[in-house]
């Protein structure tokens, strides 16, 4: 009975949702109503090339035009990691025991030792070149965290220092806010660019955008590693 009701509800929701989007159409420039008003997209793309000298338009929107939004996003991520730690809080003598079903074979352990530096290097490449190529701080941070996940899965007693993680995370967050506040000191607004923008398609271009994205990369890597470590050290059998 409940399933039929739910299916009926979903059919109604799906019909109207799909109908709306079928009317909009795929691939049409539906944001333009008349020629006198330029769409936001064109202005963003124009300013990305001419003023900011950043190749990747998505990066320039995330870090520059919507930089304040990204600061909020990073705060949400920090908040969720903190909530995870406080919800899964345990008494001190239980910390450190990992629930391991079976230990990893020697192929996995030696292979992950070989792959770990390469994965971290790839992650660093992705967030350092965030303003030139697809990718950025969030993506690079996630790649680095997968490297730590591999090490944590391969070695039962591999441990990450919680203090080190929180120091990296705090320093990265302070860098983000500090770079934003430096915009005030140079007579502008929060997160305004104050560095020379350089040339298009160079590594040293885009003003403050690479600095902020490197900080975001470190922050996301530290936070995600913290999440993985907290959840892997969770042991299900005890009564908390």
């Amino acid at each position: 009975m409940k399933k039929i009701l739910v299916l009926l509800l979903l059919a109604v929701v799906g019909f109207y949702l799909a109908g709306t989007f079928f009317d909009i159409g795929f691939g049409n420039s539906h944001f333009v109503k008349n020629d006198a008003i330029k769409p936001v997209k064109d202005i963003y793309l124009q300013q990305t090339v001419q003023e900011l000298k950043v190749s990747n338009a998505v990066t320039s929107i995330v870090v520059n035009f919507r930089g304040f939004d990204t600061l909020g996003e990073v705060t949400v991520l920090f908040l969720s990691v903190t909530a995870l730690g406080s919800i899964l809080y345990k008494k001190r003598h239980h910390v450190g025991e990992r629930s391991v079903l079976f230990s990893a074979s020697s192929i996995v352990t030696s292979g992950s030792k070989l792959l770990f530096p390469a994965i971290v290097l790839l992650g660093a490449y992705v967030f350092i070149h965030g303003h030139l190529s697809p990718g950025g701080g969030f993506q690079g941070g996630v790649i680095i965290a997968t490297g730590f996940l591999l090490m944590l899965l391969a070695y039962e007693n591999y441990s990450v220092s919680h203090n080190g993680l929180s120091i990296v995370e705090s320093l990265a967050g302070i860098t983000f806010v500090g770079v934003g506040l430096l915009g005030f000191m140079n007579g502008g607004t929060f997160l305004q660019n104050f560095l020379p923008t350089g040339e298009l398609n160079n590594l040293f271009s885009g003003g403050i955008i690479p600095i902020i994205y490197i900080a975001v990369g470190f922050k996301v890597a530290a936070e995600l590693t913290g999440v993985i470590y907290t959840v892997l050290n969770e042991k299900g059998e005890q009564n908390g």
Partner: protein, 123 residues
């Protein structure tokens, strides 16, 4: 490219995105296991992200990156939905992580993941 091709893509892509969203909603509404409910919520996230990114596509558009291979005349797809989806993915990760930690906490107290077996939870 002809318009009949795009008409076909219209139904296929928007239909897929809406279908993914509805699948996730069905799992969240019907399933009894808390893990499956959380998985359903994250499937809704994926469908919504697909929908928003698809909305920003323009006919014949290329990726919004001014690399050295860009010839300067081709139209670019709308980068704003992509930036918004980047935010949405991160927020979705945070929501899923907190939801899973709450599930772990419930497991510690009740030793079951099925919501109809948890006694003091009625609806």
């Amino acid at each position: 490219m002809d318009s009949a091709y795009f008409q076909y893509l219209n139904y296929a892509i928007y239909g897929t995105a809406v279908l993914v969203m509805l699948t996730g909603l069905y799992a969240a509404l019907v399933k009894k296991s808390l893990l499956k409910i959380v998985i359903g919520l994250s499937i809704v996230d994926s469908g919504l992200n697909l929908l928003i990114v698809t909305l920003g596509y323009l006919k014949g558009g290329t990726a919004p990156i001014f690399s050295s291979g860009y010839n300067g005349t081709q139209t670019m797809v709308d980068p704003i939905p992509q930036a918004l989806v980047l935010t949405a993915i991160v927020i979705g990760f945070g929501v899923t992580a907190v939801a899973l930690s709450l599930v772990i906490r419930l497991w510690r107290h009740h030793h079951t993941l099925y919501i109809d077996e948890i006694k003091n939870l009625k609806w």
